[in-house]
């Protein structure tokens, strides 16, 4: 009997490992956001609409497949379809650019003035469209930063002992490793007051969403770190839900030791073990970088 038990233990551990690894998800929004941006840029380029609408349509189709895969949490497929969308969107722009370059400088029938004019018009039209996109992006960035500042102003008075920061991605606060039991996902009692404040704010602002991101340093195994970061993020999310925050307005993501979004809080380099609580803008949008 003793011998059976000895056999059983490693097998159970193995099965648990397999089950857990199936649950751990990495953040998919990086590739999908890049694909959205890439397709948007190509769609805003009038030269693409004129000279390579076929590839643009194909890129849009792959983006739609990526969005669909994201809705079904199939993150491998999200990355794959996003990759194709980005590449084909870029392809449409390069081909349109090549087509512009091939507009004959000298029109054999009507004389060269008209052909030159067509080139100049197409190039100018393209530059205008790029400027419009750049302006829209700048406006959106200003809007985001104003909204983040507002959230910081409103949330900070409800939080004592921890500063709410304004990052390029929005208002956020960081529960460092000190707020967690060492090497474990459980929160220490001291975190309760802070989560009370965050929950109150979210209940008072039903238009905002929250993303909880767990990260670790890179000591120890990657699998352990990924799992720990996800469990800690999920623990914080559940603590907010327990305080009355709508579960549908919150999400938890584990990054492990990776930092794919390339940002820490100001001066923090590398990002410490801990959990970042990131607030959305007033439309529920959370920027990924």
């Amino acid at each position: 009997m003793n011998r059976d038990t000895r056999l059983l233990v490693p097998n159970t551990a193995l099965a648990a490992c397999i089950l857990l690894s199936a649950c751990v998800t990495t953040a998919p929004d990086g590739s999908l956001n890049n694909a959205r941006a890439g397709v948007q840029t190509a769609a805003a380029d009038p030269a693409v609409a004129r000279y390579d609408a076929v590839d643009l349509t194909a890129a849009q189709k792959h983006l739609a497949l990526a969005e669909d895969a994201a809705a079904h949490h199939d993150f491998g497929l999200v990355d794959h379809e996003s990759y194709l969308a980005i590449r084909i969107a870029k392809l449409s722009q390069v081909r349109a650019d090549g087509a512009l370059a091939q507009i004959p400088a000298v029109d054999p029938d009507t004389g060269n003035a008209r052909a030159e004019l067509a080139v100049r018009e197409a190039v100018a039209e393209r530059a205008n469209a790029a400027a419009v996109v750049a302006n829209a992006n700048a406006d959106a960035a200003n809007q985001r930063s104003a909204e983040a500042a507002a959230a910081v102003r409103e949330l900070q008075p409800q939080i004592s002992g921890l500063s709410v920061e304004q990052s390029p991605r929005g208002a956020m606060l960081v529960l460092t490793d000190d707020y967690f039991v060492s090497g474990r996902p459980e929160l220490k009692p001291g975190a309760g007051r802070i989560l009370d404040g965050v929950a109150q704010y979210l209940i008072a602002h039903p238009e905002r969403r929250v993303r909880v991101l767990g990260r670790t340093d890179d000591t120890g195994s990657a699998a352990f770190n990924l799992e720990l970061s996800l469990h800690r993020a999920e623990t914080v999310r559940m603590a907010l839900v327990a305080r009355g925050v709508d579960p549908g307005r919150s999400e938890a993501v584990g990054y492990g030791p990776d930092n794919p979004i390339g940002v820490g809080t100001a001066g923090d380099n590398p990002f410490p073990r801990g959990v970042e609580i990131l607030l959305s803008d007033s439309r529920g949008q959370i920027a990924s970088r």
Partner: protein, 110 residues
């Protein structure tokens, strides 16, 4: 005891085989691999090695990943092959675009 263990082992082996039998193994993505190879050759002919080395080497890397994965994980191999093809087609377009611009500047020079 030994007998019981033996029975357990045989049963679990049968289970594994049964489950493996259920999951239909998808065929190797031969079409996608062929398309990716063709696209890479075309990109090379267009001069992508000079004009688009990053895209071309990404295409080659993904094709080689796809070739290695084709029996072990045919679905993943299919994805890598499609990605390689999209890299190669982009590389080819960049090379052609570069040529068009060279032609344009030659035409405009008096």
């Amino acid at each position: 005891m030994e007998r019981l263990l033996f029975t357990l082992r045989v049963t679990s082996a049968c289970l594994v085989l049964a489950v493996a039998g259920c999951a239909a193994v998808p065929p190797a993505p031969l079409t996608e691999l062929a398309l990716a190879r063709t696209a890479i050759v075309q990109a090379e002919h267009a001069g992508a090695a000079q004009s688009a080395p990053v895209e071309l080497s990404s295409a080659r890397q993904r094709l080689s990943d796809a070739e290695q994965l084709q029996t072990r994980d045919p679905d993943l191999a299919r994805w890598r092959a499609r990605e390689a093809e999209s890299d190669a087609r982009l590389a080819e377009a960049i090379a052609e675009d570069a040529r068009a611009h060279v032609a344009l500047s030659l035409n405009r020079t008096p």
